[in-house]
Structures are given as structure tokens and as C-alpha cells.
């Protein structure tokens, strides 16, 4: 036989074309199997990376996970229960983003104190006062839910100009949020006025909303930070700064060690209850996702392979004929490999595109945000499909031993 020339090559492709076109039903079936495999491969690969990041982001709902507190005084401090404070301006030094993961860092500077609270109504005499813990806070976006999650959703639009009519007060009236237990105890509703007194100082606040958290916050009253600083006579101070750092456990550890360099004179600690639980759960979920993805990919590959093999088997007749008219085994095999590769390419190209759309849709269903399509996934999925298709042609090796005569005699 002459060296493969242009005529030979044209013949080669003609045969491949005829092989593909010979049975349109069968072509459709193979493309369907390969395309389904490619779609699942592409969708899962795309989702895999994105889902872990999004799951990590879900841990945000657990609230504050890092606390910055004043340094403990030296070993023999007589009073452990004395409330120490730190410089509230530290708040501005904390980076607003975690450079290792996306999502912003929610911050809140908090100042705790104990005071007496009573309902102050211009129409009636001041009610009985009860001791409560008040918390002055300053937070990013003026929303405490990132630090102390509560069941009542986002903060309402703050009403800035409610006219205060009552006895004159030393400071401008302000607003406050109160915990549900305290609200029940005082029988107070939003838009009523409260008076908070500590030693000599007092102030009035308008109830903005009632918070339901189920924790200690349910019996506390939340004020703007300057108001609490005024009451406690601690200008510019805070008891602690609470942060909600997004990201997976490793990101959070990294963020804390970065933070320690910025604020050497404060103690920074993860809230172990949440960081440790998060790490455990995150590990489980990401392990589960990886395992599912690997298992599904592997078995999808095997399924496609089995389907392809079934189809390849029936090519015995074709092989018999080709060998009978003088086709060398290697050339015949090359023909079928070319056919498999082409099928893989076509099935993969169509399937992977469908898979990427599938993953976008899945992301939207599960997380409410469309998954970012990763372009690298597309060629990887197509390549994987081609490899599977070519591997499925492996049983064709047996066809090398096909004896044309027995095929034509119908001895299957």
C-alpha cells in the first residue's frame, strides 16, 4: 500500500463521515449519552468550586465570630469583674474586607453598662425603673443583625424626626432598640420614649424596634455608642469590638493573625463556639460535596462507557467487510478511534454548554445567586468526554482478531 497521500486521507474522512451518518438514530443515542455525561461533568465541576465558597458565606448567619477585647491586666489585678475598655477608634483601623475571601467584614464597637430604665411618657408620671444592661454600639451599615442575629429581619428605616414633647433633658434625645424580654417587662412599644439613668447622668431614647434573638440580648437595650459613652462618662471608649469575618475556617485564622499585627495592644480571639462548630460543619459539607462529585463523575463516565461499548460491539460487520477488502487492522482501528473522538468532541461540546447553564440555574435555585461560570470548566469537560469516548472504543481492540470469513458466514 502506498504512503498515505491526500487521496488516502480524503478517503479516510469519507469513511468516517459515512460511519457517522449511516444510522442517524444510533448517532443520536450516542450523542445523548455522551452529552448527558458531559453536562453533568461540567455542571458539577462548575458548582463544586462555587458551592464551597457559598456554603462558607452562609456561616455569616451565625453572627459575630471574632472578638477584640482589652488586654487583661496583669496577673494580680484585684477586681476581675471590673469592666475594662479599649479605644473605640480601633474600629476604623479594622479592614472592611477579608483579603482571602469575598464578602465584607461586619464590625461593631460595643460599650456595655448597667443602668436604670423607665418608660418616659409626657402624659403620665415616670413609671417604675428597673436595672438593665445597656449596650452602646457603632456598627457598619448601622445593622446589628450581622453580629447579633435576630429573628426580625433587617432594621426598619430609622425615623429621624420624631418630636419629643416632655420635660427638658440634658442631652439630645436619641433612639434605641430593645430586646423582647425587656419590651415585655416594660410593656413598651416602638415609638415610645424610655429614660436611661446611670448615677447622675440620664438620657431619653425613642424605641426604634424590638429585637428577638433568644440570647442575652433579649433583655438588653441598644443605644448609639456616643450615648452610652456619655452615660458611663467614658468618651471614646468601647468594651469590645465584635466582628463577623466571612470565609472558610482557614481564611478566618489568617484574618485574625493579620489583625494582631494591626492592633498589638488588644486581645483578639475567635468565638470558639462558632468558629469551631463552623470548621467542623464546613469540613463535613465540603467533604460530602467532593465525594458526591467524584462518585457521580466516575459513574457517569462508566455509564457512558458502557453505552458506547454496546454500540461499538455491533461494528463487527463493518470491520469484517473492511478487512475483507484489504484494510489493515491498524487503519481500521484508527478509523474507529477517529469516529469516537469526533463523537466525544460533539457530545462534549453540546453537553458541557448545557451543563454550564445547568449549574448557573442550580446556583440560582440553591443560593439565590447565579453561579459564576468558570471558562476553564468547559474545555476540561469536553476533554474528559473525549477521553471517555475514546476509552469506550477500547473493546474494539478485540475486533483486530475478527476473521472476515466467519463474520460473513453469520457466525456471530
Amino acid at each position: 500500500m502506498s504512503a498515505p497521500g491526500s487521496g488516502n486521507r480524503a478517503m479516510f474522512w469519507r469513511i468516517v463521515r459515512r460511519l457517522l451518518g449511516a444510522n442517524r438514530g444510533r448517532l443520536f443515542v450516542i450523542l445523548l449519552a455522551l452529552g448527558a455525561g458531559a453536562a453533568v461533568t461540567a455542571a458539577l465541576l462548575n458548582l463544586q468550586v462555587d458551592a464551597k465558597r457559598r456554603i462558607a458565606a452562609q456561616f455569616r448567619t451565625l453572627g459575630g465570630n471574632v472578638l477584640i477585647t482589652p488586654h487583661q491586666a496583669n496577673a494580680d489585678a484585684p477586681q476581675a469583674l471590673e469592666v475594662k475598655t479599649l479605644d473605640a477608634s480601633l474600629f476604623d483601623k479594622i479592614p472592611g474586607r477579608n483579603r482571602n475571601s469575598d464578602g465584607r467584614v461586619a464590625k461593631a464597637a460595643l460599650l456595655y453598662g448597667i443602668g436604670n430604665v423607665s418608660v418616659s411618657d409626657s402624659h403620665s408620671a415616670p413609671g417604675s425603673s428597673i436595672p438593665v444592661v445597656f449596650v452602646g454600639y457603632r456598627s457598619t451599615a448601622h445593622n446589628l443583625n450581622d453580629i447579633f442575629p435576630s429573628a426580625d429581619g433587617a432594621d426598619p428605616e430609622r425615623r429621624p424626626n420624631i418630636a419629643y414633647v416632655g420635660p427638658p433633658v440634658p442631652v439630645l434625645p436619641t433612639w434605641c432598640d430593645i430586646g423582647e424580654q425587656l419590651a415585655t417587662k416594660l410593656r413598651v412599644r416602638p415609638e415610645q420614649w424610655l429614660e436611661v439613668r446611670v448615677n447622675g447622668s440620664s438620657l431619653l431614647c425613642n424605641v426604634n424596634k424590638v429585637r428577638h434573638s433568644g440570647g442575652a440580648e433579649d433583655s438588653q437595650i441598644f443605644l448609639p455608642l456616643p450615648a452610652a459613652q456619655y452615660l458611663l462618662d467614658e468618651p471614646g471608649r468601647a468594651s469590645m469590638i465584635a466582628l463577623n469575618v466571612p470565609g472558610n475556617p482557614a481564611n478566618i485564622v489568617q484574618f485574625i493573625s493579620d489583625l494582631r499585627q494591626i492592633t498589638p495592644d488588644a486581645e483578639i480571639q475567635p468565638v470558639r463556639q462558632f468558629t469551631e462548630g463552623e470548621a467542623k460543619i464546613y469540613g463535613r459539607i465540603s467533604g460530602l460535596l467532593s465525594a458526591t462529585v467524584v462518585v457521580v463523575l466516575l459513574l457517569t463516565g462508566l455509564c457512558v462507557m458502557a453505552a458506547m461499548t454496546n454500540v461499538a460491539m455491533e461494528r463487527r460487520n463493518d470491520v469484517g467487510l473492511m478487512k475483507a477488502i484489504g484494510g489493515a487492522t491498524r487503519r481500521v482501528l484508527r478509523l474507529f478511534l477517529a469516529e469516537a473522538a469526533l463523537l466525544g468532541l460533539a457530545g462534549g461540546a453540546i453537553g458541557a454548554a448545557a451543563g454550564i447553564f445547568l449549574s448557573i440555574w442550580l446556583g440560582k435555585q440553591v443560593f439565590g445567586v447565579a453561579t459564576q461560570p468558570r471558562l476553564i470548566v468547559y474545555p476540561v469537560a469536553v476533554a474528559l468526554t473525549m477521553i471517555v469516548a475514546i476509552l469506550s472504543a477500547y473493546p474494539l481492540r478485540h475486533l483486530a482478531s475478527v476473521r472476515p470469513a466467519s463474520i460473513f458466514r453469520g457466525e456471530a
Binding site: R54, Q79, R272, E276, L299, C303, N310
Partner: protein, 459 residues
Amino acid sequence: MFLRLVADSFTRRPRRKVLTAAALSLGMAVVTAALSVSLDVGDRLASEFRSLGANLLVTPQADSLPLEIGGVDYRTVSAGAYLPEADLPKLKTIFWHNNIIAFAPVLEVSAMFPNMTISKYGSPNRSIPAMQIPLIGTWAEKHLQLSDGGTFVTGIAKTNPWFHVEGKWFSEERHLERIEVAPTGHTYLPGTPECVVGEKLASRRNLQVGESVVVSAPKVQSPQNMQSCDITGILSSGGPEDDALLMPLREVQELVNKPGQYRKLYVSALTKPEDDFARRDPKTMKADEFERWSCSPYVSSIAFSIQEVLPGTDVRVIRRVAEGEGTILTRVRALLWMVTLAALLAAALAVGASSAASVIERRTEIGLMKALGAGSGTVGFLLAAEQLLLAFVGGGIGYSLGIILARLVGQKIFGVAPAPSLLVLVAVLVLAAGVTLLGSALPLRRASRYEPAPILRGE
């Protein structure tokens, strides 16, 4: 004759049938594994979420507001209401008792370390200044006798799994010490109680495991307002407990003269994520709705049933834990179901394709049968019977393979294998049958229109 034809088809070309069955079993194995893991994962993850700690907090109803800053209650011992410890075993009698993983009663007081410590040899060392500390009385690992005769081990070590103790937790009961009574013999008397000290407090007072400390409750009218204890462990919690001293609940009750009482109770319960229905007020529900609500382990319905057995309490859901858990659990479950669905779809398509291929290749045979006088219905019925047989065999093998796979995955990730479920077997067999029939339906319909003559001529 029909059966003979079917049997013949299997024995004539066994290799091809084996291949089709293999495709089927692999596909069904994916489906089985994915379904088993997905069915099981909700429960598994829910128990993982218990590492976040208690999701219910029980406090006295008629209580004064706690003055809690940084985990320390600044109320005096006389202020506020208390709850009886004796009621606690009732928690394991509620409808959802199996969902209650752990609970721990807590009695917190503000106590003093007097200006002395006791060294190992019992000699007082008076060089250290007095210091105010939070004292927490609780159960560490209490063996609770239940009314049905069983015991339930619970305590703070279980509700707060992030607490790490270097050394060991205190034991609830005092150890009996053998005292020699000269000259006749000996007797047994209760020894010193044990305690665990927070790591920050330990480093400030330079305390170590094996040493003893004295703690006093100065503001309390009590017959015995000073108590020494042996340190059995150093606690690291990452929270306010690091500054506290933890003692058995009973010892703190005696110290502050509140026998058998506690102030708050943490309950850790396995729950189902709340949906819109769960958030409704049970008082506004109709009878059947209320029944459905109380028969679902929502955190709010568990809170409701706890309140029924512990009268005079206020049971509140710790939103921070419960809501976070709810959102994450719902999302992860949805994600897994989607992945399962995608796998199911792919497996179905691959299996369908393979069974379609197996019908297409039998054109000649169909042509021959028709030429011999078989109607389209008979041919279709014959092929369908073959495919169904294949589906059941393949589905059965796939199910066993899938169960093994699910075990591997479950064991690897959660350390517990999901139990094989009959539901999954039924689902898999139905799916296998459906998919193979659907896959063969299309080529069969075309086959029914075949003219025998051209096929037999090989056109």
C-alpha cells in the same frame, strides 16, 4: 413460546446483554448511592450542627431581667427566680425526648477568691490579694436517673462541645475518703469537691491541676459560705468561662444556700429547619394544623413541649444558633438534592441510550418476526419484557453496588454508614424499569412501522 423467545435472546448473545445490564447497574448504583446519602444527610448534618451548642434556653417565667455582661450575671443571689432541679428528668419524657441530645442546668453567682490559697500540703499562703470571680455551678457529665429506669448522661461537656478541659471534668459527687478512727477501725466521709478552673483565671492566679482553691460567697446568708475544692482540670472555652470557676451544681447550691435550684438551662435538640408554617403562632392554628406542627421536630414545637413539662418556665429559641443552622441546613440539603437529581438525569439518559441502542441493533430480528406474522404489539411486548427483565436484574445489582458505595461515602465523611432503605430499592427498580422502557419506546415505535421486506433485504 414467548418465554422461549425471551430466554433465547438472553442466551444467544450473552455478552451484549451483560453489557447493557452493566450500564444499567452502574447507572442505578449512582442513583442508589446519591439517594441513600441524600436521604441520610439531613439527620447527619443536623447532629453535626449540635457542635454549635444549645439551641434552646430555659429561664424562669417570673424572672427579673438578667444583668449579663460578658457571660457574667451581675444580679445578686437574692434577685430573680429559680427553677427546681428535680424536674429535669421530665425533659426526657416529652414526645421529642429522642431529639434532646443534651441539657445542662446552670447556676451562676459572683464569688470571691479570698486572700489565701492552699498549697498541696495544706498550708495556707496569704500573700495573694482577694479577687472577685464568676462561679458557675453546672453538671459536667451527670448520670441522670430517668423515670423509665434508664440513665441519661448529660451536662455542659455535651451541650458545649467546644469546651476543652486539660485534665478532666469534675465528678458530680464527692468521693468518699477513708478516715482512720483510732483505735477501732475506719469510717468513710465525703471528701473535698472537685472543680475546673478557666484558663485565664488559672494563669492569673497561677493555679494548676491537683491544687486546691478556696472560694467564698460573701454576700450570701448561708450556713456555709466558704468551700474549698480540688482542681481537676483547666478549661479553655474561648468565651467568658475562661475567667470563671466551674463547680458541680450541688456544691454551688450549698454555697449560696439555694438547694436543688438553678437559674437557666441550656438544651441542645435535633431539629428540622423551620419553614413558614413552623414560624406561625401555635395559638392561631386549627386543631389539625396544630397536630401537624407538634408532630414535626421544629425547634419551636420542641420548645413548646418542654414548656409543658417544666411549668413556670420561659423556653426561648437561641435564634443565633437555630436560624443559622436552619439556613445552612436547608441550603446544603437543596444542593445535594439538586446534585442527586442531576446524577439521576445523567444516569437515566445513559441507561436509556444504551437500551435504545440495544433495540436499534435488532432491526433484522424484528423484521424477521414480522415477516413470520407477528404483530407490532407482540413484538413490542416481547422486547419490553426483555428490557424489564434486564432492568430488574441490572437495578438489583446496581442497588447492591450503590449501597456499598453509599456506605463508603457515609463512613468516610460522617463515620456512620447510612442504613439501607427499602424505599430506595423500590425507587431504583421503578426508575430502572421506567428508564429502560422509555429508552426503548422510541426505537420500538419506529420498529412497529418497519416494513419487513426492505429490512430482510438488508436495506
